[in-house]
């Protein structure tokens, strides 16, 4: 393995340090370090533990025209991520040990970040028959997060059973909260804008009724519940209440729901079509408050690539979803730090430390001697203009195209390997066995 010395990195406490990396791990953090290292001088830019995404759609196997594990990993690394969690709604669905092992293997072959597969809760995401979650947990992929994301586990009995079942291997159910009967053919947030545009509304109660129900079930059976992509003020209130009662619930918010609102649909440009939908200004403000005060635990991207033809069409015919990996940091900085709602330490927690803890990714989310050298170097003071043609993703469906945003990812190191240099993929890859989950 290469020996890397990162010179002049700014820690969160503003100390300028050198970080020596040996065999993929942090060997020493100090000042004026020397030795037989490849030196990367980062000129007092901010070093953070690599970001950890608990909600990524990589599309492989099945829809490699939208994204592959490799292209998604590259996009992730350029966004400062060192760990991804690949959602199960691939084709075939990741509902067996075979599929999750395949995705994990593709991630190791890419060697740019850790790719942790998420397993389906039910066979084919259909909500009818429980998937073999224990087999996925015991497979080489060691799955711990299970989700039918894209679909809601809407049957309350199935949800109860799943929450109970995963306790035996310390699993967690990540719920896509969407009551299907209240959202049949729904296209966008239900409200003033949908009534004007004539697009079928997607009421906030469709999300909140499932969140409320699942909080009660999780409490009743004593299991861990994770709520995907919270979008409504009411949902934030429910999670706040649950936490005050000591119920084991965690929640995520996406960058796009922290910045964008439903009025963007007035263009009928389907790049703004996403599930769950963009909500109102007051929802956005409630999400920001919830993320700042700890009600919402983490930021997750819900990176959802789609080919051009699935967006270049009438709104109703278009696919739901937005890219997110390469813009997540900047959007969170724009919505949370530029607004002084939170500081960089909290950002590091919600984008790295806490998601790593929730998922049990023990080699991520910390910056400490002896730990894996999964870290990213940020320039908080630079600004950039989002250009979809420069994305590493195979898709271009970013709603942020043309926006000028703060903060750039300058370097990313994955197990000590310099995978992103000056914002660009280096081509270096980590070839060692992934030892990131210690049992």
């Amino acid at each position: 393995m290469t020996q890397v010395l990162i010179k002049n990195a700014r820690m969160l406490d503003d100390h300028i340090v050198d970080i020596a990396i040996t065999d993929g791990r942090i060997y020493e953090i100090g000042s004026d370090l020397t030795g037989a290292y490849e030196v990367v001088d980062v000129a007092k830019k901010l070093v953070l533990p690599g970001f950890v995404d608990l909600h990524t759609h990589l599309r492989e196997p099945g829809k490699e025209n939208s994204e592959t594990v490799l292209s998604g990993s590259q996009a992730a690394a350029r966004g400062g991520y060192t760990a991804l969690s690949a959602m199960a709604n691939t084709s075939p669905v990741a509902d067996t040990a075979g599929v999750v092992e395949q995705v994990a293997r593709l991630g190791r072959e890419a060697g740019i970040c850790d790719v942790f597969p998420i397993g389906a809760v039910t066979v084919g995401l259909k909500g009818e028959v429980m998937a073999e979650m224990s087999a996925m947990a015991q497979s080489a992929a060691k799955v711990r997060i299970f989700s039918d994301d894209g679909n809601c586990v809407s049957d309350p009995l199935m949800m109860r059973r799943a929450l109970e079942y995963v306790k035996s291997f310390d699993g967690i159910i990540a719920q896509h909260a969407q009551e299907p009967a209240l959202t049949r053919d729904s296209q966008m947030n239900e409200g003033v804008v949908s009534s004007k545009l004539g697009l079928k509304g997607w009421p906030s109660i469709a999300e909140e009724s499932i969140i409320a129900r699942d909080i009660l079930i999780a409490h009743y059976v004593g299991s861990r519940l994770h709520i995907c992509h919270l979008t409504t003020a009411g949902g934030v209130e429910l999670v706040r209440w649950a936490k005050s009662q000591g119920i084991k619930v965690t929640a995520e918010v996406t960058p796009h729901h922290l910045l964008l609102t439903d009025t963007l649909a007035e263009s009928y440009d389907a790049v703004y079509k996403v599930n769950p939908p963009l909500r109102t200004q007051s929802d956005v403000l409630a999400l920001r408050t919830g993320l700042a005060d700890g009600t919402i635990d983490i930021v997750a991207t819900d990176h959802a690539p789609h080919p051009i033809e699935d967006k270049e069409c009438e709104w109703n015919a278009a696919a739901f979803g937005m890219l997110g990996l390469e813009t997540a940091l900047s959007v969170v900085v724009e919505s949370m730090i530029s607004t002084k709602l939170m500081d960089w330490a909290r950002l590091s927690s919600v984008m790295s430390t806490t998601p790593a803890q929730i998922a049990g990714y023990t080699e991520h989310g910390r910056l400490a001697v002896g730990g894996a050298a999964n870290l990213t170097i940020i320039d908080p003071d630079s600004r950039w203009s989002v250009d979809r043609s420069k994305s590493s993703s195979r898709s271009v469906n970013t709603p942020f195209h043309g926006m000028e945003l703060p903060a750039t990812v300058v370097h990313t190191f994955f197990n000590g390997v310099h995978v992103v240099n000056n914002g660009q993929i280096t081509g270096n890859r980590y070839e060692g066995n992934s030892k990131v989950r210690s049992e």
Binding site: Q187, E190, G191, V192, V193, S194, S195, K196, L197, G198, L199, K200, G201, P203, S267, Y268, D269, E309, E312, C313, E314, W315, N316, A317
Partner: protein
């Protein structure tokens, strides 16, 4: 004006211009010259992704009376049913020489998407997009109202228009609310709460759940069609109950002001939202609406395709 996508895009002056142009065209074609040579050599494409015989025929008649060539394209049995995209279909039709595309689509925003995505150069007229808008319907309705209330030529203030029925799913209601508001009319929406959109409180209208309370104050009552699919989706319990509460039957017909007019965009469900006696009463202007539809659509095609000035009687241009 390059396209007609929504009433929202028009100011009251443009609305009045379209109505005046339609009236001028009516005056001319009322004489021996039924057909004008104004759009000779221009091609109008009717691109209908949704069945609508009357709207398609109305646009077709309008284009033909202006001597345009008309190509009608219906999605059923076409390449669209084989998965061709809106973009490809529109570009194909433009390559065949379309100057103007009239589009009817089940997806809200389809006309705007077609006009503003840079896919085609042709002018676009929205002939109804999903639950969004149906601008030519609102224009023909305004034309019809104006004809019956000559004191309100370009200003509908003081007129009270009731729109009754499935407001939630109705593009006709949306376009009419916007247009009538722009011309100054008072609008009351009358429907059960299940058939009103959540955001209706922000619309420039009054809302009532009782047709009986409002009926005697209306100058025009627009009855909307109840689609059969609503009946199976618990928006109301039964046709009978809907008809009892919101149908225009004999008693409500009697309660109407004598000078009030009865309107319906068609096709009607006789016996459901409107009784035969109401539909056929002297106060009904439903067939006038059909005739006016052609005039208003002629005006729109004329103004969008920049036809030469309107010929005066007996003078060919």
């Amino acid at each position: 004006m390059k396209n007609l996508l929504s009433i929202q895009d028009l100011d009251s002056a443009s609305i009045v211009e379209i109505l005046n142009t339609a009236r001028e065209l009516a005056r001319i074609t009322d004489g021996p010259m039924k057909k004008l040579p104004t759009l000779r050599g221009r091609t109008v494409v009717n691109l209908f992704f949704e069945d609508s015989t009357r709207t398609r025929l109305s646009f077709e008649a309008a284009a033909k009376r202006l001597s345009a060539d008309v190509i009608s394209f219906s999605a059923k049995g076409s390449s669209v049913s084989k998965g061709e995209s809106l973009k490809d279909t529109a570009q194909t039709l433009e390559a065949m020489g379309a100057d103007l595309i009239v589009i009817r689509h089940s997806a809200s925003g389809a006309a705007k998407r077609l006009a503003e995505s840079g896919w085609i150069q042709s002018a676009v007229v929205n002939a109804g997009d999903g639950m969004h808008e149906h601008p030519t319907q609102a224009l023909l309705d305004a034309y019809t109202i104006r004809a019956h209330f000559p004191d309100h030529e370009n200003d509908f203030s003081g007129l009270h228009v009731g729109i009754v029925g499935d407001i939630l799913h109705s593009r006709v209601a949306r376009s009419n609310v916007i247009l009538l508001n722009k011309l100054g009319a008072t609008v009351t929406l009358i429907a059960p709460p299940t058939l009103l959109p959540i955001g209706v409180s922000q619309w420039p209208v009054q809302v009532s759940h009782s047709l009986d309370e409002v009926i005697g104050t209306l100058d025009a009552v627009m009855m909307l069609r109840i689609q059969s699919e609503r009946m199976n989706d618990s928006f109301f319990p039964s046709e009978r109950e809907y008809s009892r509460d919101f149908g225009l039957g004999a008693q409500r017909l009697a309660a109407l002001k004598k000078e009030a007019i009865i309107m319906h965009p068609g096709p009607m469900n006789r016996g459901l939202e409107i009784s035969a006696a109401s539909a056929d009463s002297p106060q009904s202007v439903i067939l006038e609406q059909v005739a006016n539809g052609i005039l208003v659509r002629m005006a729109v095609l004329y103004l969008l395709l920049g036809g030469t000035r309107i010929p005066t009687e007996g003078v060919l241009v």
